[in-house]
Amino acid sequence: MKTIEISGISKNYGQVPALRDISLEVNQGEIFGLIGPDGAGKTTLFRIMTTLMLADTGSGTICGMDIVRDYSRIRKIIGYMPGRFSLYQDLSVRENLEYFATLFGSTVGKNYDSIKEIYSQIEPFEKRRAGKLSGGMKQKLALCCALVHKPSVLFLDEPTTGVDAVSRSEFWKMLDRIRKSGVTVFVSTPYMDEASLCDRLAMIREGRIIGTGTPEQIISAYPYRLLSVAGGNMYPLLKILRNTEGVISCFSFGNALHLAYDPEKTGLPAILAKIRENGSEDCRIREITPGIEDCFMQLAGK
């Protein structure tokens, strides 16, 4: 049995479609990433899976329980950490934790083991009001509160948005440890670079799943060859390259251009010649393996 299984989920906000025919399967004990830009429908999908909202069509189960019919049973076994920090700012760290433990009919003491590793980092500030914590500590507290009742599935909606790079990598290490304790983690993020840290992922855009699989599977399914072009006068170059025959796409990627070409229609020498022809002699060009973002752009462009 899959831990999460949803099929054919659609949801409209009035006339605006938010989700269109979403189907996903998540295995027990894996970190499943939902990757997509802002407004892709990630939070809507979360709200449907965590029983906060009803889908217009489609069905789903979590640990075999129906997300509509068995919503009250599901709420006992899931942990949910919404995107925004949403704990009580005027209660202390310890009080927040105890409050959420009590809501699940448990106590902090009973489940201390499951949160010990994370909680020990904020324990010295136990008596401090949650509103007075730093961003990273707030996030740790929110994670503790979502874990304090030993959930089987943990839903994290954009947990790393607005968090600095160090805290982000630390956070993913924590997720790894949580996964090792047997909890299934369903996490969404707008950051493509976090995708490789997931066991499996689904890419979502404008309410549609455009690709799913392990990061390796997604990368190996990339159908084109990819070049990185850096230096020279980038913007005119970008326009020229986009109109070159055999070039599928060309996007600016930080300080370089990522150029995808169809090896059956053109080749490296032809593209090189085109660049030289336009007076961009000093370009550094090398062949690269695609990242998740390249795959996303390719799939999104389809």
Binding site: R75, P82, R84, S86, L87, L91, E95, Y99, F100
Partner: protein
Amino acid sequence: MWKYLLEKEFKQFFRDPGLPKMALAFPVLMMLVFPFAVSMDIRNINLAVVDNCMSEESSRLIEKCTSSGYFRLVSHGHSADEAMKLMDENKADAIITVMPDFDRETVSGNGFPAGIKVNTVNGTKGSLGSQYILQCVRMYLAEKNQASGIQAVQYAEISEKYYFNPGMDYKLFMIPALIVIAITMITAFLPALNIVSEKEAGTIEQINVTPVSKTAFIVCKMIPYWAIAFFILTACLVIAWAVFGYVCRGNILWLYLFTVLDIIVMAGLGLLISNYSGNAQQAMFVIWFFAVIFMLMSGIFTPIASMPDWAECITYLNPMRYYADAMRAVFLKGSTPADLWYDIAGLAALGTIMVGLAISSYKKSE
């Protein structure tokens, strides 16, 4: 579970920098300051006299007015223009003009050659002011007739007796009404703001994914405010007794009974407001709207009977109308629920509608 939910609400309440102080200061302020401030007794009406007669009779009339305690003589002269100017400058509220042949005419009983002008920019002050002047004139005439033994003028003395509030004391009249306002504000609007702020903070979403039922959560949010409402009611009654010596004429239990009914209506209203507001600002606007309508159309400040028919119809939808009426009747008159069955019926009907609407809209938002 319930215990902990409640404990959290109380903790948050007492941790709030303003709320506990407000809950304490409110009844004290209300009982010690507001009864004087909202008093409808008009005193210190500025009176200008244009005395064209300058006789013994005219000065007796003026003395009658000034000694009544309601008037303050600001000018006593001959020029009508000057007096009018004073009124234009807002220095005089009323002008009495005494004609040159005042003494002769009044002594002979032929007429009363004096004019009264009253500034009615402030309606209450104007109408009460002219009544006071007329009363003074009446008193002057009565004395005069007695002194001279003239019975030619038909004269009937009218004396009023006020039931249930013998001294026509506005403080006594306002105290139950102020309790009504305070309790309505606290039980309807503060919980609404509290729920909306949980929405704003996103915490309500976090609670919704827990096995805690929404009902338990909301009820626990309201209980502290109910406790405060009863605290304020009790504190107000104690202060009214200790400071002013007013005691409730009826059974105090009935005050609490009507308060419970009002709280049910207000809880429904508060929840309804919070269901339709996404943030505190929206909620504040709606609250403001209701608060003003409730107060002005409740009969607390102006009698409902003097409103036009259509406005009177609107007051039937106002829970504060029934609550204020009942509280005043129990406090001043000693009425029992049997006497006030219509107030009970009104509150019960509104309560059923409000709570019903609140619950159905609440379920929809799920």
